[in-house]
């Protein structure tokens, strides 16, 4: 808000509320309100092109170029999207149980037939 300046404590809270209600959400958002600790990868594949995260959650490059299998997990764990992968919440919680390491065991992940 550039045209109103919060002066008292309540105004600061109103401003925070407005920011939360109307502010944009950015991938890898930093600054603003103190944020809760994030998962290792930012949630939500629609916000960024996946795979190939530009930076990892620490803001570094050490985690770049994830194996392509990582895609499965983006959809299966962090952002379930029924068109692409089985639903891990209710019907197929064990879909990846035979896949301890995605890079090695990805062949064990099979199709499901609902």
């Amino acid at each position: 808000m550039r045209h109103l300046r919060a002066v008292n404590r309540k105004a600061v809270r109103v401003e925070e509320w407005i920011a939360a209600e109307s502010g944009d959400v950015f991938a890898l958002q930093q600054g603003g309100q103190p944020q809760a600790p994030r998962p290792h990868y930012p949630a939500g594949c629609s916000l960024v092109f996946s795979p190939g995260w530009e930076v990892d959650s620490a803001g570094g490059t050490a985690g770049l170029c994830q194996p392509v299998e990582r895609d499965l997990y983006d959809c299966y764990l962090t952002c379930f999207w029924p068109a692409q992968v089985p639903d891990h919440l209710n019907n197929y919680p064990d879909w990846t149980s035979k896949c301890a390491s995605a890079a090695k065991d990805w062949r064990n992940i099979d199709l499901v037939f609902p």
Partner: protein
Amino acid sequence: MNGYRLGEFHAFEGGSRKYLYLVPSGAIFELTDLAADILDRLRSGERSQEELLAGLGPDAAEALDDLHQARAVSNGNGFPEPAEKTPLPFPLSTVVLNVTNQCNLSCKYCYEFGEDRVANPEGKAKFMPEETAREAVDYLLAHSPGRRAVHLTFFGGETLMNFPVVRSTIAYAREKAHAAGKYVDFSLTTNATLLTPEVIEYLAENQVGVTISIDGPRELNDQLRVFRNGRGSYDVIAPRIKELLARHRSRPIGARVTLTSQVVDVLKIYRHLQQDLGFHEVGFAPVTTSPVRLYSIGGGGLDIVLRQFQVLAQEYLEYALRGEHHGFSNVTDTLAELHAGISKAHPCGASLGLVGVGPSGDIAPCHRFVDSDAHKLGHISTGVDPGKQAEFLERGHISRKLECHTCWARPVCSGGCYHESYVRYGDTGHANLHYCEWIRGWTDTCLRIYGEIAARNPKFLDHFDERRAAA
């Protein structure tokens, strides 16, 4: 799409800046000139967005959006959101113990013994027994979940007429609070007649906050603050007060002045109490009375009081801009509420975070209703009756006070003192309509001071955060 119109707020200036006090949130925002221009255009009535922004430049749409988001302007048919219902049970923070209903003075305006009293102490205990006071302490500690610090306030009658119980209760409360992992602090109000060197020593050593009821220099104090034989109390109390102020440095000592038709010279009273006697803080309140009493302050008297309050408030501002303490506590208290942006659904904490306990152990919404059967909420042995408490609170809730719904000062006032309402209108839930102009005038004065401090010495406002943290 609907046109835009003004939201609910009070606009004010301070330190040549423009501010909004938003209602009902209590938020204070500073405006840019552009935002102020937009609001000016709406003063003549509703306007479409095109009319409103015409010729105001490329930033105007953003300014309008800011105003809209903060609800300073509206463009819908939205209904005001109802104030939230009070969550019950509410954790206690303060118990006021009326350790006696007896007094050695006969102040003519006294709400406990005067013509407008609500108490009916006949046949009840005159002095609170130690056992009852202990039960009250246990009650406070048991009914303050989640609070680390609680307060015990001793009141009367004349509090010091039952000093032995004050002393033993403080010792008991310390021990019990410690065991419960809480911190308890103590304060009392007294007419100062019984401040002996031993009592003063005790109060200082135990860091008991003290408020002295006194109405100013001799000729003003002795108008109504008299002994039973009509003799004034000033000559008895002045030397004792000086002794107290000299010895008791562990807590700020405040004076509490009751203004009446005879006693309205605020400046003279303030100078005397602050400079001649040396009080750290001086607070004023008009007497609570039905309007027919001779000592009642009428509208004309309140205007005089407000003008003098404004003079003292201006002086407060000058001190604040230099970063110095000023003892006019009416300003301090109001600024603290404005700084926090408090928006009250109830005028005070009575029957919420605070209850009064009478000598008999009866629980009242606050100390002013102690010994009144009509307002009894319960007994200390069995606790507050939730039904009676809910009824009292519902009756006093801002949503019931229709007259307040169009007033911009309702976040700080919320209809005013329950006891005052009861004495005036026979209903604790009635808005104190005889004070509306006064409250708005005083709130506006304090907002202007707040605005000027925020513009010219904003660091001073940090004191209010610290004050809040300490409370």
